[in-house]
Amino acid sequence: MSNANQRFLMGVFEREEDVLAATNEARLRGLEIADVYTPYAIHGLDAAMGLRPSRLPWVCFALGLAGASFKVWFEFWTSASDWAINVGGKPWNSLPAFVPVTFEVMVLFAAVSTVAAFLVGRGLLPGKRPKLASPGVTDNQFALVIEETNAAFDIDEVSEMLREFGVTHIEERVD
């Protein structure tokens, strides 16, 4: 719900398969699905909404690679260059011995950055006030929110469609 003064039509459902079917139908009719609010992750809803795959794996890969590269360089620099210490006659540059810590640091960088990218990207910040579509969406309700894209949007027709799928409550909203 980003645009100011944009009108939305919200349908609240009580059952998972109803909201799944209604979302699918809405997408097939070419309606603009703003979002669906659900108490848990519903399998297949991403396809019904036509969502593109998340790009977070790229963040994970890039930062994991960066973390590992940095750590290999750092271990080489500290052990062989900056202040080299002879430990039991082992070579200055003990690459095989650097593997375990490199792995751990790679995991740390990849995981922390992926979670951080997710939280910042989705605007999930400590103490933020939630905007709830309907009070029950974190409990037992499913809310399908459709954007009224232009004047040709026929509220009656869309409401009728939602009723076919057993909607329990329909509401129009201005945001």
């Binding site: 909404m49 969502l51 998340s54 500290t78 400590p126 037992n140």
Partner: protein, 454 residues
Amino acid sequence: MASAHAAISGPLILGDKSPGQVTDDICSVLERGPAPSWWVAITVSSSMLLLGLITVGYQVLTGIGTWGLNNTVGWAFDITNFVFWIGIGHAGTLISAVLFLFRQKWRTSVNRAAEAMTIIAVMCAGIFPLIHMGRPWLAHWMAPYPNTRGPLWINFRSPLVWDFFAISTYFTISAMFWYLGMIPDLATLRDRLTGGWRKKAASFLSLGWNGSFRTWFHYETVYLLLAGLATPLVLSVHTIVSWDFATSVIPGWHTTILPPYFVAGAIFSGMSMVLTLMLIARKTMGLEDYLTKQHVGAMCKLLIATGGMVAMAYLTEFVAAMYSNNEYEQFAFINRAKGPLCWSYWIMVSCNVLTPQILWFKWARSNMAVVFVVSILINIGMWFERFVIIVTSLHRDYLPSSWTGYVPTSIEIATLVGSFGLFLTLFLLFCRFIPVIAIAEVKGVLSHGRKSHE
């Protein structure tokens, strides 16, 4: 959809519940005042914790000469406790990450508590090397930071440094995984509570979660990525713990089997501790519909599998030692079975190899009392496994003139009791303030609202 190789065939959650009922069932446990049994339990556990705090304070002020160590047995109780707790801390990630990747949906009832147990166990584990340093206020010297001592860097070739990185990474990732999984449930709690400090805390910590599926979609991706990262991580952590031993030239330690042996043992001990806690929680918190006998049965099957791996490892290391034609190696293993500390070896074998075999029988898996006793015995056996590896390998040195015995002091025993106090106190607090079952994940495996299941 029940996959052909799922460990549970019937419904995952009993009582044909709707999402609303799940919220009520799990949140109402938190909203009710604590039961008298909870007060009894926390009084006992916090007394144990207090005892631990006093003895740790005494050790830090006096020095670790208060322990029963000597020149020959330089590692004993303290490191045994460390490896024991780290091992316990492996089950949470196994359940949340490995079983997630294997699409074992029954994990949803167990994962929250198992992850909490992991984080608490890693905290308990971390205390022991910290005390062992003797000067714990210099613990930050383990981190590679530009310092005024040169800068003198840490030795990246040392397994003890690898261990520091492995355990701190493991703790960070486990805590993050746990919190991430909790955000939707904290939002549920926030929208349910009418006021008070709990609502304030839940509002702050739920990060403005509003159930948006666009967020859920990315959330699922992050969860999958974390599971994919945590799976090799969990294997690496105990592998690195085993390298603390395997890279030293001590008969009984210096063996290539140690990494898989330690990982299997860790998962085995962690599973048994999860089972112990799970059986107590389902009984005292009225969660029998969520933690069903089928869940217990699935956990028992994992115990048989990991117990089998552990038994295989015991046998392999014995045969490898005999076959090695190295008299020191052979002596170390014969000494385990027949030496002065052979009682600890036979406790280990009987608890870890023989006890779990009863779980092959279905009547045993469905009798909660039997399962509870088995899980306790495995906990004891796995503690002794570490004691055997550490103490019996050390007390008979290369030179018979330096052979000694080892007896723990009261301080060491009190510290172990104190670590159990910390573990139980934090777990009891977790049960009071955080939904012990992942509400949003359980809702996803209900049959309610799905035609194919009705």
